[in-house]
Symmetry: C2
Subunit: 658 residues, 2 copies
């Protein structure tokens, strides 16, 4: 090597401090502290080809400590990716630059996952490592044989989700997962000793991990540790003892380098310390040439892999899976045809299980699971045997009581590619996974959340287990498609839409209780429209009854009562507010014409229904639930035709009178 | 003891299986498995007096595995609490019975905290144990000297929050915390080996815990373990090896006993196995007498404590703190008067720090903290020195990167009594704590969440750190008061309301960026009304501008522009939707009269604003944010007077034309 490792690493340090200085915003401490580790990783270990950033068998690199984003922008630039350019880096944290404050997977190839919310990058990487082992089991070493590398800081390790991710990775024996812990003993508030006394290596060992330590500023020692990590069959935590902000002579080793520009004086002092006389954003030719050679080194491995793929009898199937093109969705249409012939008056979690039976048989790219509620979420089918340490070809994951970890792992599987993950818990526990659901949406990851027991219909378990505000609050998350289907046909339609959606996650809110099958036609996927007239008024139409999920059949009952009074009411099912919102104004006006009294019925908060109902009536549950059998609860909260119908009539009379 | 421990424990088993059988719903497995442990605890160790369930120096008992609620209902009944009655137990899980599916702290004295969402009871208990040590440091052993006992299952230990709770408890050396782990090796999906391979004791030791194991069905061995736990200065995990559903001969040891009634045949078989011939809900006199004696045993200790309190020079202050009566809130009024004299055009997180300075000085019952964002949340004041293992008298907790654990610990402190906890993180990370915030609300706990960086105003950190949907989604949680104050005066008002609110949590959403002080009067706490006219229109009023927080000053700017066009606009600040909703219709109509065009401005989702704006205009951010300096972002998202004013004028003209 013609350039010393120290100078190679200093290129990262210089870019990090200069970009943060230019933006007067950002986090120089981590990239400067982990520059030596990253240099060893990119120069000698990471399998990648900057000219083919989506190469399926590349190593995955996850910067879980996403605030240190300049580390990844620097390494991508230095090793020869087309982007970011140096101009992009100069515009770090400015509008329009792909070099965002935290790494965004949709901004730059080479960024495998959006990170920043601490702990989640690590947990997402666990999902990537699961995906690798599963696809390896299916397609063999010739096509799938890579590592997942993570840089994580103390924040990532202290977050609760870390326990879930570590437990899952240890249990599944994900030996291809190597986590480089930036052991700098500093957090934002100061020394880690302010808030933790944990023996971190001991904790990892307790969960079945291999732990090795190194001097994070000694390239040879780092390489020794990496070799040990690769050789060990367990997932490995590499404790890299580092100095945060290394190179900034007056601030290094303190939280002052964590999240703010160093300042002109300290940057100048750092240049002297680092023996880096070049102007900001200038990388000396010899250093850039050396860095570029690391990127070029991957081309041959990639070409050999291309040849293996071309020669493989599995090439077509491998390409299909990695492309994300879904197989066999015609089975859902067939399933619905069967339902028309033989209606299924079952819980929507049950009809979900039924259609999943067909889906998982036809779509080998699906991997299911549940956070220890398999028999309640109905997520396991006869096609999905367990994915275990001893058999990664399985397609069902017992995630344990790890809702957040499950969700992040599903993000990792979806982002890895080749897999469509779905997983279940009770809807009320979407609160436990919410931060990961948000990242599914931000990252445009095709993850399908199967959230059952979606209202007070859960019954006796009471308010802690009864979602009230959850459906509405999930509708607020941008780019998340929330479905609350009303019967088996809508369940099948929603599954078809969720599977077909490549640009983001979907969430199915499903009932515990049985629901009558109310749909009578399957010519068109009505859930794709988000809302539609399920049943037209018979008498002169004076009411529009809007409902979702388990309350659609209640709305039909109310409509029947109203008709008995000579009042016509359309029944409108609104399984997906997002899809409805994206319809033309003309279509929406057709479904929700001006004039009739609008009435919503949903066993959840009525706050939010103003969007569709305006000044009409909103029936729901605006406080916490209660513990009782389901019928008692619906009566208690006034969600019965007996309770609702007279209020509508009264409102109509009031309207007429004024 | 005249009755064998086994028969005493079988009373719990019988009640558990009979109540679940009667309800045909519930979880017999845990109470039957942990009956022996609970019997030892209640008979020999727990300090309690059923006739004074709110005795401040009682031991706290937390059933973290809340699904086993019949264990606590049985022990409360058997040991002589006034409630539940046997009729209540007969009506387990029926509407109106305090014996809800999961234990609810508002239903029964003796239930210290609502549990069910796994992991949270444990983490709440950590807060109780912090409260005990802090109050002990303040008031001494004579008044505060108790333990916190927890029963937790594998689910509680597998959840991510467990890592945060264990880390915090270990770091703070909470030796009065004793966790009884129901080590039954069964979860809902089956054997724990399906999903975990963790060496749990090793993990706890790695975090500074003492671990001791016992045979959970051998009273002497259980007592030996308890003695060791009490003797050790560290928090203790007692691994109680048990058989789930013990006593049900055909189902015990399997997940079949976890969450469903055993069935008549198995109940009959269990009666035979347990040698329990009595009819359902009948407790033999000798057993009941013995159990009642355990409850009666506490009366003397309580009487002695009463005497010590009466004799204590700290009696008045101790009583005041435990009563929840807040001290010194007049300081806030003084603070506002100073602001009027000398306006503070600072970020609301900064004015929050300023008022907190006065609050924490006047109110020794406040304990602050932050999840490693102290300098950003501005939660530390000169009155709050750190609470550490070596000095529990401190009033500031460095929670570490443990948002969820912090929130649950605050619930525990609030529920323990004697403390008003507040704690901070970035608003976007409210997603990490959401499940605990919900429990604050359900439990009516006086917890104050200080959530800063409350919009795209956060700037360069980008979409992962910019809350968009969060303010609205928090407004959806029942019984949570969400405040988004617009200036220093409103910040002070919101703090006053949050501190005074004894029936639930409050959350303050605060800006990173500076805000001009716009309020000119302090005669009345306007935030108590939730919404009010901040500035009246000058020209003929055609517009109502509704805004919150940092967008109120923008609304004023827009109003100025409109006035230049001869269009009068009221500016309405809406810091608390909950408070506004609870005003009279007349007041709300006065603030929001019919007629004028309504326009909302809030740097977050516009979904939800239909409640107030109806068909008007809604300005906000309906997708994810972006990484850039704040001014660029507000321009990018059209949140400027330049962008908004013409759209209002256009709308007015359109309205006029039609």
């Amino acid at each position: 090597m013609s350039v010393t490792p120290r100078r190679l690493a200093n290129a990262i340090r210089a870019l990090a401090m200069d970009a943060v200085e230019a933006a007067n915003s950002g986090h120089p401490g981590m990239p400067m502290g982990m520059a030596d580790v990253a240099t060893v990783l990119f120069s000698k270990y990471l399998k990648f080809d900057p000219k083919a950033p989506k190469w399926p068998d590349r190593d995955r690199f996850v910067l879980s400590a996403g605030h240190g984003s300049m580390l990844v922008y620097a390494t991508l630039y230095l090793s020869g990716y087309d982007a970011p350019t140096m101009d992009d880096i100069r515009n770090f944290r400015q509008i329009g630059s792909p070099c965002a404050g935290h790494p965004e997977n949709f901004e730059l190839p080479g960024i495998e996952t959006t990170t920043g919310p601490l702990g989640q990058g690590f947990a997402t990487a666990v999902g990537m490592a699961i995906a690798e082992r599963h696809l390896n089991a299916v397609f063999g070493d010739a096509l799938v044989d890579h590592h997942t590398w993570v840089i994580a800081g103390d924040g990532c390790l202290m977050e609760g989700i870390n326990h879930e991710a570590v437990g899952l990775a240890g249990h599944l024996g994900l030996g291809r997962l190597i986590v480089l812990w930036d052991d700098n003993r500093i957090t934002i508030d100061g020394a880690t000793s302010l808030s933790t006394s944990e023996d971190i290596p001991a904790r990892y060992r307790a969960s079945g991990w291999h732990v090795v330590a190194c001097d994070g500023h000694d390239p040879d020692d780092i390489a020794r540790a990496f070799d040990a990590a690769i050789a060990d069959p367990r997932p490995t935590l590499v404790a890299c003892r580092t100095i945060i902000g290394k190179g900034a002579p007056n601030k290094q080793g303190t939280s002052a380098t964590h999240g703010a520009a160093l300042g002109a004086a300290e940057v100048a002092a750092a240049r002297a310390t680092l023996e880096w006389p070049d102007a900001p954003f200038v990388i000396p030719d010899d250093i850039l040439t050396e860095w570029r050679s690391f990127g070029e080194a991957g081309a041959q491995a990639r070409a050999e892999w291309d040849a293996r793929l071309a020669a493989s009898p599995s090439a077509a199937e491998f390409r299909r899976r990695m492309s994300g093109e879904a197989a066999g969705d015609s089975v859902i249409q067939d399933f619905m045809a069967d339902l028309l012939a033989k209606p299924a008056n079952v819980a929507s979690r049950k009809s979900s299980e039924m259609v999943l039976g067909a889906i998982t048989e036809a779509m080998p790219e699906t991997i299911g699971g549940s956070a220890d509620l398999t028999g309640s979420n109905n997520t396991k089918t006869s096609s999905t045997k367990p994915l275990t340490k001893d058999d990664y070809s399985g397609r069902y994951i017992y995630y344990g009581i790890r809702e957040f970890g499950m969700s992040a792992a599903m993000n990792g599987m979806a982002l890895h590619g080749g897999i469509i993950p779905y997983g279940g818990t009770f809807l009320v526990f979407s609160d436990y996974c919410r931060a990961a659901i948000r990242l599914s949406a931000l990252q445009q990851a095709r993850v399908i959340y199967v959230m059952t027991h979606d209202s007070i219909g859960l019954g006796e378990d009471g308010p802690t287990h009864q979602p009230v505000e959850h459906v509405m609050s999930l509708r607020l998350i941008p780019n998340l498609h929330v479905y609350r289907p009303c019967d088996a046909i809508e369940v099948a339609e929603c599954w078809a839409l969720a599977l077909a959606r490549t640009e983001g996650p979907s969430l199915l809110a499903l009932s515990r209780q049985n629901l009558p099958q109310v749909r009578v036609g399957i010519e068109e996927n009505m859930c794709a429209k988000g809302g539609y007239v399920l049943r037209r008024a018979n008498a002169a139409r004076r009411v529009l009854l809007l409902a979702t999920g388990s309350e659609v059949s209640l709305a039909i009952e109310v409509a029947d009562r109203l008709e008995e009074h000579g009042i016509g009411a359309d029944v409108i099912s609104l399984p997906s507010w997002e899809n409805f919102q994206s319809q033309s104004q003309a279509y929406r006006d057709e479904v929700l014409p001006a004039g009739p009294l609008r009435v919503s019925i949903e066993a959840g908060t009525t706050f939010g229904w103003e969007r569709h109902v305006r000044d009409g009536l909103r029936f729901g549950v605006d406080g916490f639930g209660a513990s009782a059998p389901i019928d008692d609860l619906y009566r208690h909260f006034g969600l019965t035709a007996d309770a609702i119908t007279p209020q509508i009539i009264e409102k109509l009379e009031g309207t007429t009178n004024t």
